[in-house]
Amino acid sequence: MSTSVLGRAARTGRARLGVGLLGVVALVVVLGPVFAPHPYDAIVGPPLADPSGAFPLGTDILGRDVLSRLLDGGVNLTWMAVLAAGIGVVLGSLVGLTAAYRGGAVDAVLMRAMDVLLSFPEIIFVLLFVSMLGRSTVLTSALVGVAFVPGVSRVLRGAAIPVVGSDYVLWARVNGLPAGRILLREVLPGVTSPLMVEAGTRLVWAVSAIASLSYLGFGIAPPAADWGLMVGENQDGLSVAPLPVLAPIALILMMALGGNLVAESVARTVGRTEGRV
């Protein structure tokens, strides 16, 4: 089963590094808020103060403790990225599998619709709707997820076409099993490996997309602590106080890089074994 793909992938050094990086970030996200020395939105010192005993990473542009904001700022990014990747993968699989299974006109219509969606860069797509509908974290995550649907659906359609043509699926169709059940029970297990790779990759993309949106001011609203937002808020002071910008960037980087390494090693393992389980 695909667990063995995961097992084989996990034995690579690349994957271990990735898991390690993700583990560190996860610790910061989960335990950080407990250890934050100050409330994330409290103004506790002069703006852009140098690191000191009281403020180990200095203060930000408003005089808030950078360390506290850093420790508090990963939660939103994490759940938003997971939600976005989840929406993208679920909807994308649905579209991709349906297109592969139905074929013909349904396939053509669905895939051309995906092509239209694909022609919007994901950030532009999200900005379009956020500027019309207003800013909300759930909306932003959902939009990022929807922006991922075309990519996911294309990959899954490609992976599902050979499975749909295989004898056991034909058998199920001949016996008149409902389409939903065939897709779920017969086709889906055949595309687990590409699905996992896709989920991992989309998670990484979601992290960078949502961090970018917060940086641009269209994601998480101030005064919330958020890594992407922190970069945007403090960038003007970069030359005076680099830490308020560099520290959140380092964490975003670790999160994205870690996820990327894991997804990459799974993909390589799948590639080496040609998806065989």
Binding site: L62, G63, D236, G237, S239, V240
Partner: protein, 510 residues
């Protein structure tokens, strides 16, 4: 501020419009003109904010900062403000009212030439005033001259104009100092407006760059630089980078953080104009609970003004007292400085039946410090259990719902008298708080009839009403910051935050 003034204010803060003054300031460190002879044809390069929609028309509605900056180099009004905020004569030399202040006779400055070489006369003033006064043109300055009767604007002789008003109005001279009310050659606006300023347009690419060159037959002090080049940048950090890499000589917009990061750099200095520019939180009195003065007072008591100055504005500000400024000529009004008082605020909120008040402050965050002010306020308010969210929206959204936001960040860059006319009286577009205080209105009418000597005491009584009953939280007067290369000499700070209006003594060394 009015919606129309909203953007000009942005402009002023971000860029500063140039009003073409040829003022020679006593006490300013003007460089010796003889030693500067080598820089006669020097070019002064100014970085400004991008405005793709800009035109050369000084009467356009919703003018951008950059457009005003350039127009002010090209056009002049009947009067102007000096860097200390005093009104002085420009294209006019005398204004005399009739007994009941309903008709004004304006004497024009003789021997003034337009930049195309033709003479400036009363016909041009009549044409300009009529153009401005026509509501169809939607000129941004219209709000300030609505008392003018458009059918009673007439040329008496080539250097005399008579203007009739629909209601008595005393501070006529002050109004014309507004940068939005310049005089252009008859028949040239809006397509190819010609002004009387010390510079004329040489090249103009909207959204990119404009170049203006010295007009040698200018009536006032001849500028020392031959050319001014205004280059537009997407944001203030880009302006700062252009300054660092020596692509420009002055960055006309810089927030406190950028100013601070540039401060220690080699060859860069900071022009720090302290004035009465206010950034304030407007509370819509049409919306509960802000219709209750106790709630408004409670919110004013929640602000830690020292923290706003230090943390929202990086120290480049001074504490304000919940009333507008813009009256540098007057003594301070006798009201005590309001300080943070959480207990009193809680008490007022409880009395008003709002112990768990929660609301959002909307801002477009366009000016430095707007977003920061909202956040510091939110943090301060939390101390009394008041929950404040900061709602950052794009500029067009803020403007499209102008007057409807329950709480919003606003700004005011102009002197007190036009502020009153444009944004504090009821039913003005600029009055987005819909504040309507009958006593204030009565005093404003009194102000419009008062002789110059009596104005200060009336204005101070108006400040007192703002302090007691007003609908804005005014925590600080903010400085206008412009980093520049030290080879630029002769820049002066300006109490109205428009130091680039005063270029006549500016020179650029090598």
């Amino acid at each position: 501020m009015t919606r129309t003034h909203h953007r000009p204010g942005h402009l002023t803060r971000a860029l500063t419009a140039t009003a073409l003054a040829a003022t020679t300031l006593a006490g300013c460190s003007a460089p010796d003109r003889t030693t500067a002879a080598g820089s006669e044809d020097a070019t002064l390069r100014i970085a400004a904010a991008t405005d793709p929609g800009e035109t050369l028309n000084p009467y356009a509605s919703n003018q951008s900062p950059t457009q005003q900056l350039r127009s002010a180099l090209l056009y002049e009004g009947l009067t102007r403000l000096d860097p200390t905020g005093k009104v002085e004569w420009a294209l006019a030399t005398e204004m005399t009212p009739n007994a009941d202040l309903t008709r004004w006779t304006i004497k024009l400055r003789p021997d003034v030439k337009f930049t195309d070489g033709t003479a400036f006369t009363s016909a041009d003033v009549v044409a300009s005033v009529k153009y401005l006064r026509d509501p169809q043109h939607a000129a941004q300055g219209l709000a300030f001259i609505e008392k003018i009767d458009p059918n009673a604007v007439e040329a008496v002789d080539p250097l005399t104009v008579r203007i009739g008003l629909s209601a008595p109005f005393g501070p006529f001279k002050d109004i014309w100092a507004n940068v939005l009310l310049p005089m252009t050659k008859a028949g040239t606006a809006p397509e190819k407006p010609v002004g009387t300023g010390p510079f004329a347009v040489k090249a103009f690419t909207p959204g990119r760059q404009s170049t203006v060159t010295r007009f040698d037959a200018y009536w006032g002090t001849r500028p020392m630089v031959g050319t001014v080049e205004i280059t537009e940048f997407q944001n203030q950090q880009a302006q700062a980078n252009a300054l660092l890499s020596d692509q420009v000589d002055i960055a006309s917009g810089a927030n406190p953080t950028i100013a601070r990061s540039l401060a220690g750099k080699d060859g860069i200095q900071l022009l720090d104009s302290k004035g009465d520019f206010t950034l304030r939180i407007g509370l819509n009195t049409d919306v509960a609970p802000f219709d209750d003065v106790r709630v408004r007072q409670a919110l004013r008591l929640l602000v830690d003004r020292d923290q706003v100055v230090a943390n929202a504005f990086g120290g480049y500000a001074r504490v304000a007292n919940d009333h507008e400024g813009g009256t540098p000529q007057c003594p301070a009004p006798g009201v005590p400085q309001r300080k943070q008082d959480i207990e009193q605020a809680k008490k007022l909120l409880a009395e008003a039946g709002q112990p768990n008040l929660s609301f959002a402050i909307t801002t477009d965050g366009l000016l430095p410090g707007m977003r920061e002010l909202a956040q510091v306020f939110a943090e301060n308010a939390a101390k009394a259990g008041v929950k404040v969210e900061v709602n950052v929206v794009p500029v067009p959204e803020l403007l499209s719902k102008w007057g409807k936001w329950p709480a919003f960040i606003d700004f005011n860059p102009i002197p007190y008298l036009p502020t009153v006319i444009g944004s504090m009286l009821p039913d003005r577009v600029g009055n987005a708080t819909h504040w309507d205080n009958p006593e204030f209105v009565r005093l404003a009418d009194e102000l419009f009839l008062a002789p110059a000597a009596g104005q200060c005491s009336i204005m101070n009584r108006m400040h007192e009403i703002e302090y007691r009953d007003g609908a804005t939280v005014v925590p600080a007067f903010v400085n206008v910051l412009m980093p520049y290369r030290s080879r630029v000499r002769g820049l002066v700070t300006d109490v109205n935050g428009r130091p680039l209006s005063f270029l006549s003594n500016v020179s650029v060394g090598s």
